[in-house]
Symmetry: C2
Subunit: 379 residues, 2 copies
């Protein structure tokens, strides 16, 4: 990733609520979080009419750091740096962009690593199982804190797209438009199955210790879960193009069980990197929240969107087999059956699910145009 030449220095922000009777966050599971912290970042300026605010929802392992750097010597830029900044699709000269780490995450917002005020110790596996709707509940509190009445748009890819869809169902009056990228209205049994196996890998790692790990992290289990995830983010075709059957720094097969193929080396690298930055318990909670995501448990997706009234942009990618275009077409159909204005783009891409992070030029152009039109609608 290129370092943004604009040297955008962004400060992480915190918003806390709760701490008193009934002031916490009521959750779908029936429990509540008495004290909640939301870690977030903002980009650009909120205009006087408060009509230029955009909420970006991050994916499974993302965070609130969208763009720029936290300090001049920060070597990495935010995960959507290509999209957010002056003159970029999410133009910070025009829009006020908000991104917060989800509840249950491990990047600053209240999650399994946070201190349980009832015990004074980290929640770990005592943290309540949260849902995608719970994540949006936290974001809604942040919205109120920021004094925003209606988002110009709520946007997200993958698990972020689930949150964007959930916003339109839970808080239709607060949503000016939705951009749902590479997502689904319900997790498929195949995706549930991958999540199950990934969680088993973590929970079977002795270092996991029922979630009570300290210095000895369940690295092996978390790495396996991450590698498995990565396979589902790429497509068969992109793997053939990127790795093929090429060997990694070898002329011939090793005839042992060390890594021979480039794809094996790639997975090992991804797994290794991930355990350095992500919490294993949080991974369990994030994937469970996705498993439980289903906007229409009774099968009537049209009915689920009955209260939604903002326009939608829905984007899918041809080679995405985790959340395939068929999932997006179901959403589009349900929206159209509610006479909701929906633009749908099924992009040709070989990148698989990861396309939502890689097809930046086409996707960026599409979203920039869409935002411009929505802003014009508001004026």
């Amino acid at each position: 990733m290129k370092i943004d030449t604009l040297n955008l220095i962004i400060e992480g922000k915190e918003f806390s609520f709760g701490g008193g009777e009934g002031n916490g966050l009521q959750l779908d599971c029936g429990r509540s979080l008495p004290e909640v912290n939301i870690s977030y970042e903002t980009y650009g300026e909120l205009d006087d009419s408060k009509s230029n605010a955009i909420l970006v929802c991050h994916a499974l392992t993302g965070n609130s750091h969208l763009a720029g750097r936290h300090s001049p010597d920060d070597s990495a830029v935010g995960w959507w740096n290509c999209m957010v900044g002056p003159g970029k699709p999410f133009d910070t000269d025009q829009y006020f962009i908000v991104c917060s780490n989800v509840i249950g995450g491990c990047m600053g917002s209240t999650g399994p690593c946070s201190i349980n005020p009832d015990t004074g110790k980290p929640y770990r596996m005592d943290f309540p199982v949260i849902t995608i709707a719970d994540m949006t509940r936290g974001q809604k509190k942040l919205m109120e804190h920021l004094g925003i009445g209606k988002w110009l748009s709520v946007v997200g890819g993958s698990m972020g797209g689930m949150q964007a869809l959930q916003w339109s169902v839970s808080y239709p009056e607060s949503v000016g438009s939705v951009m749902a990228i590479a997502t689904t209205s319900h997790l498929s049994p195949q995706a549930i199955a991958f999540d199950w196996v990934g969680r088993l890998a973590i929970m079977s790692d002795p270092a996991w210790n029922n979630g009570n790990y300290e210095d000895d992290l369940p690295e092996s289990g978390l790495a396996i879960a991450r590698m498995l995830g990565h396979i589902t983010y790429l497509s068969d075709e992109s793997m053939r193009r990127k790795f093929g059957r090429r060997l990694q720094e070898k002329e011939n097969y090793s005839f042992d069980f060390s890594k021979d193929f480039q794809i094996e080396s790639y997975l090992e690298h991804q797994g290794h990197q991930f355990v350095e930055r992500f919490d294993a318990n949080s991974y369990l909670y994030m994937t469970r929240a996705m498993d439980y995501f289903d906007l229409a448990p009774d099968g009537d997706l049209r009915e689920a969107f009955a209260q939604s009234n903002s326009p939608f942009l829905v984007v899918s990618f041809s080679s995405d087999w985790l959340f395939p275009p068929e999932n997006s077409r179901e959403i589009v159909k349900a929206l159209r059956n509610n006479n909701i204005e929906v633009s749908y783009c099924e992009m040709e891409s070989a990148y698989g699910h990861d396309a939502f992070l890689l097809e930046t030029e086409t996707l960026g152009g599409l979203m920039a145009d869409y935002l411009r039109a929505r802003k014009a609608d508001m004026e």
Copy 2:
């Protein structure tokens, strides 16, 4: 599976060779097995002209027990019982059918569980890494032992299909025809990636103990590997049809990490069953053999089949994403470019890779007709 009404009682057979200088099995890795046992079964009678013999090659976790039962009180029948027997596609009144457990397996043939004659102890991870070609080398020895000069057909699905293809390349003069079902001429990087993650799960299980497990088996790792395998054997569509998002004996989400969904319960069952019947080290060796399978490392598949001269039947299944139809079409194209007679059938099926075990009626009819035509050719 229905118990065959014909009460076919089949006896397992053993064939051993080696034990003297140069009498063992030379392997692709450069090492050799000094003593080799091949566990096999036969069905029907070899005719006087020895022209009615068929070799069936089994898939990853299969064995030599194709059909019938080992004793009258045996509760299970062989894995291809629907295909093999009197009046069935592999008609035991007409054909002499041979199936042997592969080298490296754990169902009777020499593998990691076998005693290493050099040490008097089980090989375990000292067993040499074997290839698909090594498996066919073992089968060729068995063929000579049985006094068969040419197979009427060599047939197999999945890893069995790889062996069938390898036969036509390694021993073209010994092959009367090939039936290659739901297979590929090379493992894709995606399939290599799944194998890598599955093996990591096994090798990360402390009970694996570098392969030196005794009573405490690496059940958790092997179960994870098997569950992962199972996801790749089913299709997204078959999972939707069979399980959907239905809960298992629950009205609502548990809001914990126990199994909620039917698909989770199914995977757990498959994993649990598997560890009762399969050896973890053998699973490592089998998957590595598949990783290494590539008939055309230089990319010229036509050249790979240049010496093959028997007709082929190639069958793929529309929803098989592990070994997709594209893999079969590559084989068909390479064969046609060698002017080899090839029949290709791309069957519509929602069952995914498992279709080769489930689409028995259509596949059975196809293979029965093909065998009949090949037999007529021989007469």
